[in-house]
Symmetry: C2
Subunit: 138 residues, 2 copies
DNA sequence: GTAGATGCAAAGTATTTGCGACAAG
DNA sequence: CTTGTCGCAAATACTTTGCATCTAC
């Protein structure tokens, strides 16, 4: 699995350095969607000499190489997550900030149709739902 | 129509000043989605003494008062548009930057269902489609 | 008259960049 | 070797804020 990231780098002609390997590792182990500051904190624990500039440069590079995706959720800093085969969108708990990933094929289809209807081919999209947890009992 | 904005302000207890009236006017006349800088340029042409700080303060105030909405499209600055009854989403031409507004009730419905399915009540959402114009001839 | 708005410049954030030292292929 | 990366600090971009002055109500 960590292999996969290194393979992706080789594939893209991205030079591998200790810092990049570390950032890749921390990101692939993250189950949340850390922002650069948080990521910097996590990698700093392992390599305290790493610079935040390197973290910024690396997430940008990884994004361009299709290893990470960037999210710009409402009113916050950019947050990153590892990009795997399966595309998904996000449901954000507005109270807790918790993020739930979901996929809805029907919505995906409709988006394509909307774009077509306006004479466009869909190349990308962003769907974010913001919700509050329902009171399940009574 | 400009009346409407002033009425909204009175309703919300928002004090009306020349600067606010001007910003409201420029925004309601805008058919695009200007960012703060662009808005500042437009109002400056009419009142060259206005400060950019006032523009920032006013768009934020108007947003909180439900007069404007803020959009944070990919990799850019925050952009604003007047908030009218009809909600809509955006289809962005990735080549030209042109923005097309659309509504799709089916998608809206499905979004609510997705939120429900995860135990949430949808309070807000963001849907942006990014597309390239199709070659219509031949 | 008074609470709140404005303009200005200074301060914050988030992110990028120039540069000399250093490391990967 | 040579090209590209790193760390550092300075620079940039966008937005917010403190303060004295001014204005709407």
């Amino acid at each position: 699995m960590t292999d996969t990231i290194e393979q992706k780098c080789l594939l893209k002609g991205v030079k591998l350095t200790d810092q990049r390997r570390l950032i890749a590792k921390v990101m692939s182990e993250a189950s949340d969607h850390p922002d650069v500051d948080e990521l910097y904190k996590r990698v700093s624990k392992i390599d305290p000499k790493i610079s935040i500039a390197t973290v910024y440069r690396t997430v940008k590079l990884f994004e361009e190489s299709g290893i990470l995706t960037k999210h710009e959720f409402k009113g916050g800093k950019a947050r990153y997550e590892e990009l795997n085969e399966g595309h998904h969108d996000h449901l954000i708990d507005v109270k807790s900030g918790e993020i739930i990933e979901f996929v809805d094929e029907e919505i995906e289809e409709l988006q394509k149709k909307v774009a077509e209807k306006h004479g466009y081919t869909l190349v990308d999209h962003k769907l974010e739902l913001y919700g509050v947890k329902k009171n399940l009992n009574k």
